[in-house]
Each structure stands twice: as structure tokens, then as C-alpha cells.
């Protein structure tokens, strides 16, 4: 289907980061002037073409078919991934306010029917211009793709610890887990910020990893899945979130699955005098 993407497949470390955080950034090498031409075309559009983006903007196929983009999508969704209907051009004009935190709608599914332990669907966001702090970058909450929370519970949330802003160079492609919490922030600049968004889906389960996998990396992957918490979790959530991270790897990795329970559970140095006990050591700063 796609050519020359094999050298752009993600590695185990990048897949692990995606599982933990829920996003990955691709920097495809595009011809000089390509992004500017896309911006010019967007500015000249009389109206938003809705999901008919490729028909209205054929040059966007260069991004969709770029080996670096195909390599990342293949790694995350398997070699038979498809582009879904529902793409959209986002225009964030000057002097807008931030959106509230949200998860994108799951068409035909309940709001709480989420892929908390798998990567079945992604959003691809292409930014044809530099996005600076004041231009309304997309904000993401790493790890939130594993949360199931009704929209009503998000309405009082504003600034959250660990939130990440997509301040990116022109031509960058942000791939996010479909269910990650995100928002467009307010554009306080005098420039328009464009972003073109496409959803993609997995069509079949992997029999083996669809990325550049090496079994020798499994201990390092395991250590990261066991220990890296992308957002500050409540006390009740540590074990659940950890299990969901490992299950996500297993659902993606096919034959390279790992045991749910780590052999290193509660291992490590003895507690120090005056410190917390072994069982509560990792939580001593989070009473």
C-alpha cells in the first residue's frame, strides 16, 4: 500500500511513550514552501469544506502519504489502517477563548465507551504554520486517554498539572490517541492558526508488533510501563492505570505480550529510617 515507510517505523521506546502519554509528534521532511502553499490555499477557501478536505485541498495527500507519517500510523494502528470519515479544518482566529477540556465524540458509541487499553483509533493533526504559545496551541493531558469521565465532570477543570501544549514548527504532525483529553486554547496573537485533523482506525489486530520491535528491549519497556505516571493519579488509580498501560502494550504487541504482574513488584531498596514504609513509599508525597 505505502512505499518507503519501513525506515520510519517507530521503535519500542517511542511506542512505550505513546502508550504512557497518548501522543507522538512526527516531523516529516516537506519541500521548501509546501506549508506556505497549504496556508495560502486555506486562506483562499471561501468556506470550510467540512470533511471533504482532500477534494478541496489535494496537496494534503503529500502529508497523508509521507513515509514518516505512514510509518508512524503503521506502527500504532497496524499495516492495514484506514482513514475514517470526519476530518476537519480547524481555524483559530485571533482573540479567541480556550475550549473546555473534552474528549472527541465517539460516533455511534456512548461517551464512556472508550478504548482505555488499546490503540484502535487515532487523530492526526497537521499544523501548516509555526504554532507559538500565544497562537492557541492544542493542549493535551498526557495519559488521560485511559480515563472514563462524563463531560459534566470536566466543566470546572481549567489548568491541570502536566498539561502539554502543542507549540510546534510548521509541518509538524501530532498523532493522538482518539480518547485523549484535549482543547484548543485561546489565540491571543494577531495571526490565524490553522490545523487539519484526520481520524484513522485500526482494521485488524496485530499478530506481532507492527513497529520496529526488538525483544531485548522488553525489560526497559517493562520498567517504563511500571514506573512512569504521566499525570498525577489519585490513590485509587495507580494500580488500575498501571494495569491498563501493560494491557495496552499486550493488545498492540501480539506475540510480544508480557505478564500483567511485574516480577519487580515492591522490589528495591529497604526503607530508610524516618521515611515511608515499603508499601507506601511511592505514595509518600501523595497522602
Amino acid at each position: 500500500m505505502h512505499n518507503n515507510y519501513h525506515s520510519h517505523l517507530l521503535n519500542d521506546d517511542q511506542i512505550t511513550s505513546f502508550i504512557i502519554n497518548g501522543y507522538h509528534i512526527v516531523h516529516p521532511e516537506l519541500q521548501t514552501g509546501f506549508n506556505e502553499k497549504i496556508c495560502d490555499s486555506l486562506r483562499s477557501m471561501p468556506e470550510n469544506p467540512g470533511e471533504h478536505i482532500v477534494e478541496a485541498l489535494p496537496a494534503i495527500s503529500v502529508v497523508l502519504e509521507h513515509p514518516a507519517v505512514v510509518g508512524a500510523l503503521t506502527s500504532l494502528l497496524g499495516s492495514k489502517y484506514v482513514r475514517d470519515p470526519g476530518g476537519h479544518i480547524h481555524m483559530n482566529p485571533p482573540r479567541t477563548r480556550a475550549q473546555p477540556w473534552h474528549q472527541d465524540e465517539r460516533f455511534g458509541r456512548g461517551h464512556q465507551d472508550r478504548d482505555i487499553d488499546h490503540v484502535k483509533q487515532l487523530m492526526m493533526m497537521y499544523y501548516p504554520q509555526d504554532v507559538t504559545d500565544d497562537m492557541g496551541p492544542t493542549v493535551l493531558l498526557p495519559g488521560s486517554q485511559r480515563r472514563i469521565a462524563a463531560p459534566e465532570t470536566m466543566v470546572t477543570l481549567v489548568n491541570l498539572r502536566g498539561q502539554v501544549f502543542s507549540t510546534l514548527e510548521a509541518g509538524s504532525v501530532l498523532l493522538t490517541h482518539y480518547d485523549i483529553w484535549h482543547a484548543g486554547t485561546g489565540n491571543r496573537s494577531d495571526r490565524v492558526r490553522y490545523m487539519i485533523k484526520f481520524p484513522f482506525s485500526r482494521t485488524e489486530e496485530n499478530v506481532e508488533p507492527s513497529w520496529d520491535h526488538d525483544t531485548e528491549n522488553i525489560p526497559e519497556v517493562r520498567m517504563r510501563l511500571d514506573s512512569e505516571h504521566p499525570s498525577t493519579l489519585s490513590r485509587n488509580e495507580y494500580e488500575t492505570d498501571h494495569g491498563l498501560r501493560v494491557r495496552t502494550w499486550n493488545n498492540m504487541a501480539g506475540s510480544a505480550a508480557m505478564p500483567l504482574r511485574s516480577e519487580a513488584h515492591l522490589g528495591g531498596p529497604w526503607p530508610e529510617s524516618g521515611g515511608a514504609t515499603t508499601a507506601s513509599r511511592r505514595r509518600r508525597d501523595n497522602p
Binding site: 477540556w101 472514563i148 470546572t156 481549567v158 485509587n236
Partner: protein, 89 residues
Amino acid sequence: MTIQRIMYLNTTSRSLRASVVGFAIHEPVDSDPPQIEVGVEMPYETVHSAILDGWRVVSFPAQRGGEDPEAVGVYGYEFILEQMVEIDA
């Protein structure tokens, strides 16, 4: 006259000493709602440190039970605090 400032603090547990992981301050002026912004820091590390700074807790988060053990849910525990400030009437 005195008027109410409101602050939402989201924490990792119902403890007053739990880490703050989210906040929103609603100033008592006719303005836009608080915005997600680049570079902001949590105003307090705990609810307790906000109390030491003069804030009063007006709403405590409810005890949670019966959550789905297979899922990670609502973000943090929400405390609502107030601070009375003088304004020119």
C-alpha cells in the same frame, strides 16, 4: 463591600495535604471565565497551604465508593474555596 473570590482545587485524594493537580480561580469581576494558559503553575501545593494563606473551604469532595475497579475515572478530588475581598462599591 466584601465580595467572594472562588478557587477550585483538584487534588489526588480527599486529604487536605494531598497534592494539588488542577486549579481555577474565578475573580469577582465581570470577565471571561478562567482560561487554560501556557506556563501557569499551581497556586498552592495543597489545600492546607491555601488555608494557611487565608482561603476558606466551602465545599469538600464526597467520599467515593463503588468505582469501576477496571477504569480510571474523574480527574482528582474537587475542593471549592473562598476568599472575601474588599471592593469599591
